[in-house]
């Protein structure tokens, strides 16, 4: 049994960190977040060159064929850099939905272009209720046409096609289809843009049954949690650095236990989230019987931890932490958006309860 990363996993993580630090440092991230879509085509083609756009998909779809643990590592590093743009929406979310729901023909047509870096996509799920429970989806396709409104659709502004969750299946809608209206929603996270998407007799191609969405949502949840871990790590690093250099009463503030102990807690929360995320990645990869529980544990813990780590980081930075120029609030904004996306901690605790309390024996202990 080996919970540590393998040499090739370490290499992937390390090169992703260097890549994001080089291609998307803080100044570039800030430039992109001020744009309308936070998307940059030059950066996208560099992501493609690295193989990131096809990381977990089969070679038959022009993917790289790596596992879910590798995906966690990539997203952790993307989260550390607060990478703006549609990597999550396109590669993780839309890609996983296509992979879980679509036929091989669909995958050739839609997933392969994503892997090759030619197409951007997203998934439209939430409606007025803003409920992440798939059962609360009301939109229903009639005669291959969709009518209604979806909210909080990430990166729809740069999507070439949108996958739509409906009661009677998942549908693919071309971004240029008639009757489709995409309008921005002003979300707190400036690096991941949200949109309202309106459908009026909009033609959609049936991809497959909505029942297979859960598997894709689980991967999305785990990947979001991995991003949160990266964000927590960055927040911790910035905070510890600040606590070592900022002096008050003639001493570095990190010498005061009221400050030091908060840093220790940030470390504990970050590392525990990381353990949970890596385990979830492994459980998904191995299709372990407790994979869904493991995903909810990771999302639940990381959602709460990212907020707490952010609170502590800003507090320790004092006035500096409250300024626009300091990056902490950008991570804090992302943490709040990701906390809600695909179910917050309360949502996932209830899911854990239904898996563990209502159906005992599902939590598999180590094999």
């Amino acid at each position: 049994m080996q919970f540590g990363l393998s040499e090739s996993q370490e290499f992937l993580k390390d090169s992703a960190r260097k890549f994001f630090a080089g291609e998307c440092p803080s100044a570039e991230m800030r430039r992109l977040m001020e744009t309308e879509t936070a998307y940059d085509s030059a950066l996208w083609s560099k992501l493609t060159d690295q193989g990131y756009t096809g990381i977990i998909y089969g070679e038959e779809y022009d993917g790289v064929g790596l596992g879910k643990v590798e995906l966690m590592l990539l997203m952790e590093e993307a989260g550390r850099a607060l990478l703006p743009g549609p990597l999550f929406s396109t590669v993780v979310l839309a890609g996983s939905v296509l992979d879980a729901v679509g036929s091989p023909t669909h995958k050739k047509k839609y997933l392969a272009p994503i892997c090759r870096g030619e197409a951007r996509a997203t998934v439209a799920i939430l409606e007025t209720s803003a409920s992440w429970n798939p059962r609360d989806v009301q939109m229903t396709a009639a005669n291959g046409k969709l009518t209604g409104e979806k909210f909080f659709v990430s990166d729809a502004g740069v999507a070439d096609f949108i996958l739509v969750a409906a009661r009677n299946g998942v549908f693919i809608v071309d971004a240029k289809a008639k009757g489709l209206k995409i309008s921005p929603m002003s979300g707190m996270d400036l690096t991941r843009k949200l949109y309202a998407v309106e459908f009026k007799d909009t033609p959609g191609e049936h991809l497959g049954p909505a029942t297979n969405l859960q598997r894709a949502f689980d991967i999305a949840c785990a990947a979001l949690s991995a991003e949160l871990v990266g964000g927590m790590q960055r927040t911790l690093d910035l905070t510890v650095e600040y606590a070592k250099t900022r002096k008050q009463f003639g001493k570095p503030i990190g010498m005061f236990q009221a400050v030091q102990h908060q840093c220790a807690d940030m470390y504990l929360e970050t590392e525990s989230s990381r353990s949970a995320v890596y385990y979830a990645g492994w459980a998904l990869e191995e299709n372990a019987p407790d994979a869904s529980t493991a995903v909810s544990i990771a999302k639940m813990y990381a959602s709460d931890a990212a907020r707490t780590v952010g609170n502590r980081g800003i507090q320790i930075h004092g006035g500096m932490g409250f300024t626009w120029e300091n990056d902490l609030h950008l991570y804090y904004r992302r943490a709040k958006a990701s906390e809600n996306a695909f179910g917050d901690a309360t949502f996932h605790r209830e899911r854990i309860a239904s898996l563990v309390i209502d159906a005992p024996g599902v939590t598999a202990k180590s094999a």
Binding site: Q260, Y267, R349, E350
Partner: protein
């Protein structure tokens, strides 16, 4: 990353499983509730049996009667012991902490003299570290030892000594050089508890029981050959012992917590709340889910830590994270039990209406000690702050 068992791990587990099926006592449940004084001979006998099968100290090197088990195998060992609800071993400090320290720091003569009887539970060991004025600031301890010919004369007082009442031998940290700065003047001594001048008194704790003792030393003569490690190098020896303490305990506790949460879920199904089973109450569900998730995360943290130690050979700060994590989690778990049981939660063992014979009222009180014993949460956070994050020392 690969969480499947290796062939070596599987065969270790299978061998143990087969041995336990044949040898583990089936009647521990009858003994569990009794005072330790009464069950101690039973625990000694169980340890002797384990030792006969070479299972008493799996982590020890083969040449000293162990199996040179890896950390993963050690963790499997505790998992299997928990699975069959096997009793603990009588000489748990000797096996877990002091034996490994003697193997690491002791002379050949000391190893020959002490190790076999630690394994066989013929000699029970206790640990004399904390003092009334030296808890978190252990290096400030004052019990002194003065050389007189080929003996040290020991005077002073120790406190919070587990197994003091039954201890035959004690790993005692004493001050041998009062002119040196704090931790530089300390020495570890192996002290025969039957020596004249040693007095053991029970220390009654807030649960009402006496798990721990106070030890008093008045002109106790200890042969100089019983110095463990080098004279004035006792701090290093003590730290080596504490490292073992923080290393392995988490693995065992995680299994205990699993048993607790399963029981709480079972209780939640039988306890009524607002006219329906508590297991259907949304707030109770939230709390049980949070707790069961944290128990899993404790397991993940532990596995990651083991892998890292196996790779680097050096126990890192993991011990401090685990210590904070399990002690605070245990307190939250006990609070959930109290909320679930309502008025019944306060009933003590022996009361005919008590749930699980007072396990939960006891646990509620006992877990207050968890964030204090084996290094307070504050000390653990100091360790993380300074040694992991590189923040300046706060004290």
């Amino acid at each position: 990353m690969d969480l499947k068992l290796t062939p070596e791990e599987s065969s270790f587990r299978d061998e143990l499983r087969a041995w336990l099926a044949k040898n583990a006592p089936k009647n521990w449940a009858e003994w569990r509730e009794k005072p330790l004084e009464e069950s101690f001979p039973y625990l000694r006998a169980w340890q002797r049996k384990l030792h006969d099968g070479r299972w008493a100290a799996v982590s020890w090197p083969k040449e000293y009667g162990g199996r040179s088990a890896t950390l993963m195998q050690q963790s499997l060992f505790w998992e299997e012991m928990a699975r069959v609800e096997a009793p603990p071993m009588a000489n748990s400090l000797g096996l877990g902490l002091i034996g490994p320290t003697i193997i690491a720091c002791g002379t050949e003569a000391q190893k020959k003299r002490f190790i076999p009887k630690i394994l066989s539970a013929e000699e029970i060991w206790c640990q004399g570290f904390s003092e009334p004025n030296a808890g978190s600031d252990l290096a400030g301890l004052q019990t002194e030892a003065k050389l007189d010919g080929d003996h040290y004369i020991v005077n002073g007082q120790k406190v919070w000594t587990s197994y003091g009442w039954v201890g035959d031998w004690c790993e005692l940290i004493v001050r041998t050089d009062s002119t040196a700065v704090k931790h530089k003047g300390l020495t570890a001594l192996l002290v025969d508890m039957k020596s004249p001048g040693v007095e053991v008194r029970p220390l009654r704790q807030m649960t009402g029981e006496s798990e721990f003792n106070e030890l008093f030393f008045r002109d106790v003569r200890v042969p100089a050959e019983n110095v463990l490690g080098k004279v004035n190098d006792g701090w290093k020896v003590a730290m080596s012992t504490l490292m073992y303490e923080r290393g392995s305990y988490g693995a065992r506790l995680q299994l205990t917590f699993n048993r607790y949460i399963s029981r709480l879920i079972e209780l939640a199904r039988s306890v009524q709340r607002n006219g329906r089973p508590a297991s259907e109450d949304p707030l109770i569900r939230q709390k049980l889910a949070q707790c069961s998730a944290e128990i899993e995360i404790m397991r993940f943290n532990q596995m990651r830590a083991f892998s890292r130690i196996s790779a680097t050979g050096v126990p890192g700060p993991e011990g401090s994270i685990q210590k904070i994590f399990w002690s605070e989690l245990n307190q939250r778990l006990q609070q959930i039990a109290q909320e679930l049981l309502g008025s019944y939660g306060q009933l003590l063992g022996g009361d005919p209406h008590a749930v699980d014979n007072g396990l939960w009222s006891y646990g509620y009180l006992r877990t207050r000690g968890n964030t204090i014993e084996a290094g307070t949460s504050e000390v653990q956070r100091n360790i993380i702050g300074h040694f992991v994050l590189g923040l300046p020392r706060s004290y």
